[in-house]
């Protein structure tokens, strides 16, 4: 038995180390690469760490107005779509978790279908439609589809959270004379805030990460987000990508993710698993 326990312990330790290396190695790698100067990468530097660490790439990147613009676009578009998507999802999830109404199944099926929708299939028709409507290469042109594609996840996460809320409190409020709407706004919203926050994080991750639409529905840095802008980074030599600058830009867009993960890991895990646990 003792032997077995030791084995389990060693296995867990080995697994722990493996997970850390798996998850962090590529991140450490791009950070290391971001400190390699352009001369070093142009000459070819297969070693992991920079020979002469330099901040050159960081200066270059932040002096690059296209990159700065795309960073602003990324933040703005992700924040606005998160905000709007979470509001709509909160309303819908409340109805799904709490109210009995016709068409509930239909709403859930639509959400499921959209979660599985191949985004690329939309590129053509949306490209055409957005040009007609004047939404091509604008913030709303990306915000609207981002809302549609984050709503399913937000609705699921929120309705799972909403089921855990002590609803007697809502009934108590209704007994005290509050309408359904007042009970929703005054009692449930504060209780549901943690769930809403989790849904917001997951939605933000999606919008921050999205690439296909950002690439197809934009044409300038008026609305192009960082993931799409990265593919427009070209160094002096077209056959040799500007490794250092790309790595630096990658580090810059990864920093917000790391901060969010460090602060809210518990909430994110709860949100991701909330839907799958039941059953």
């Amino acid at each position: 038995m003792a032997n077995n326990e030791t084995r389990t312990k060693i296995g867990t330790w080995a697994g722990f180390l493996f997970i850390l290396v798996w998850c962090l190695l590529p991140v450490v790698w791009i950070i290391s690469l971001s400190f390699k100067g352009p001369t070093e990468t142009a000459a070819g530097s297969p070693q992991f760490l920079p020979k002469e660490p330099t901040l050159q790439n960081y200066t270059d990147i932040f002096n690059n107005s296209d990159f700065r613009d795309s960073l602003v676009n990324s933040f703005g578009i992700a924040a606005i779509s998160t905000f709007l998507s979470v509001i709509l999802a909160t309303l819908a999830a409340y109805a799904i978790a709490r109210l009995e109404f016709k068409g509930k199944k239909l709403v859930l099926s639509i959400a499921l279908a959209i979660a599985m929708f191949p985004v690329v299939a939309l590129v053509g028709p949306l490209f055409d439609l957005w040009r007609t409507l004047g939404l091509f290469n604008t913030w709303p042109g990306l915000i609207i589809p981002y809302m549609s594609f984050t709503l399913p996840l937000a609705i699921w996460t929120l309705s799972a959270f909403f089921r855990e809320i002590p609803w007697e409190m809502e009934q108590a409020a209704q007994v005290d004379g509050a309408t359904s709407w007042q009970a929703f706004r005054k009692v449930i919203v504060p209780l549901a805030a943690p769930g809403v926050f989790t849904a917001a994080i997951l939605t933000f991750f999606f919008a921050w990460n999205e690439f296909v639409l950002a690439l197809s529905l934009t044409s300038t840095t008026a609305s192009r987000t960082v993931p799409a802008q990265l593919s427009y980074f070209v160094g002096p030599d077209p056959f040799n990508p500007p490794y250092g600058q790309l790595a630096t830009a990658s580090v810059v867009v990864t920093v917000p993710i790391i901060i969010i993960v460090l602060l809210f890991q518990r909430k994110i895990v709860a949100g991701l698993t909330s839907g799958a646990v039941k059953g």
């Binding site: 867990t12 697994g15 722990f16 997970i19 850390l20 798996w22 962090l24 590529p26 991140v27 791009i30 690469l33 990468t41 070819g44 530097s45 297969p46 070693q47 992991f48 709509l88 819908a92 109805a95 709490r98 009995e100 068409g103 709403v107 639509i110 499921l112 959209i114 191949p118 690329v120 299939a121 939309l122 053509g124 028709p125 490209f127 055409d128 439609l129 589809p145 809302m147 549609s148 594609f149 709503l151 609705i155 359904s180 991750f205 690439f211 690439l215 197809s216 993931p227 593919s231 490794y243 790309l246 990658s250 969010i260 993960v261 994110i268 991701l272 839907g275 646990v277 039941k278 059953g279």
Partner: protein, 320 residues
């Protein structure tokens, strides 16, 4: 878990409380409120998907190139004929299916191992969860760049670190031929999405009763027997949901291919082909036909997985 039917059960116990006439009034009001609350979300979800999809269906019947809009001509199902008889389309479909099968199976195995470690670990839980969320949260494009550079001939460490492997040389050009390039793409995908799989499986593991495991151990079941007879059957729902979501996600692969090879060395996926036709070639008619086919494939795939593995999405997602 007992929460499966909570919403309905709560409803059922709640409705009969009031007198009968009152119920219908309240039910009607509730029905109205419910619909009003879901309406905005439904409208937004459909506006960007259903309408453009109908548009795509219509456009797919025309020869329509954005660069020469006056040449728009009705060709019936001609575009579909063109696509379905093109070898490139089939090559890309094979690539996509292959990527899906390989990445999802590898992720399932590694993800399960990760979930086991996270489940068993007593120390540093926070550190493990934080680090596992980083690949999940990282931008896919960034992950693809990180691995492209790691595999790079002039600036990558993969070749020098793993030069002891018999099939690897210092000068192996990963993006110079089909299979190594496919390997690099799949590797990047697996790295990025295994944590998601692991977290879903962890949720399933948490539901396997410890008592049952202990009982099995007392009865002399080996580790493998416990895994196959107790753990896996009891987390079936979680596994199926994870597989369904990851498989459909993997089938839509685009970002990593765009970044790592731009489709060179025959590494194009169906999504990439559709994108290239529409945006680069401006072939809206042909591209729309591809969009429709892609949409149908995803529907078919979802249907197949749900049927084949009998995934009960309703119960798995906690919807009664």
């Amino acid at each position: 878990m007992s929460t499966v039917s909570t919403p309905k059960a709560a409803k059922a116990s709640e409705t009969p409380k009031a007198p009968k006439k009152h119920v219908t009034d309240r039910a009607r009001a509730e029905n109205r409120l419910g619909r009003r609350l879901v309406a905005p979300a439904v409208v937004v979800m459909l506006a960007v998907t259903a309408w453009p999809m109908i548009q795509a269906l219509y456009l797919s019947l025309f020869r329509y190139r954005l660069t020469s809009p006056d040449d728009k001509e009705f060709v019936g199902l001609g575009n579909y004929g063109t696509v379905l008889t093109d070898s490139l389309f089939w090559q890309d479909t094979v690539n996509t299916v292959l990527i899906m099968l390989v990445t999802v199976s590898v992720e399932l195995v590694i993800g399960f191992a990760f979930a086991m470690v996270m489940h068993r670990i007593v120390f540093a839980r926070g550190i493990v969860r934080t680090s596992i969320l980083i690949p999940y949260g990282i931008v896919t494009v960034v992950a693809a760049y990180a691995w492209q550079f790691a595999f790079s001939l002039s600036n990558g460490w993969v070749n020098s670190w793993f030069a002891w492997l018999p099939w690897l040389q210092q000068d192996t050009n990963w993006f110079g031929s089909h299979w190594p390039a496919m390997f690099a793409i799949m590797f990047s995908e697996i790295w990025k999405t295994t944590p998601f799989m692991a977290l879903l499986l962890l949720a399933g593991l948490a539901q396997v009763s410890e008592d049952m495991l202990e009982a099995a151990q007392v009865d002399g079941a080996t580790w493998w027997q416990r895994l196959y007879k107790v753990i896996l059957p009891n987390m079936r729902a979680a596994i199926m949901v994870a597989v369904l979501f990851r498989a459909l996600d993997a089938f839509r692969i685009f970002d990593s291919i765009y970044v790592m090879t731009r489709g060179a060395q025959d590494t194009e996926s169906s999504s990439f082909l559709t994108y290239r036709q529409v945006i680069e070639q401006m072939q809206l008619g042909l591209g729309s036909a591809l969009s429709v086919l892609l949409f149908i494939s995803v529907l078919l795939l979802a249907f197949l997985i749900v049927r084949l593995f009998k995934v009960d999405l309703a119960s798995a997602r906690g919807e009664g």
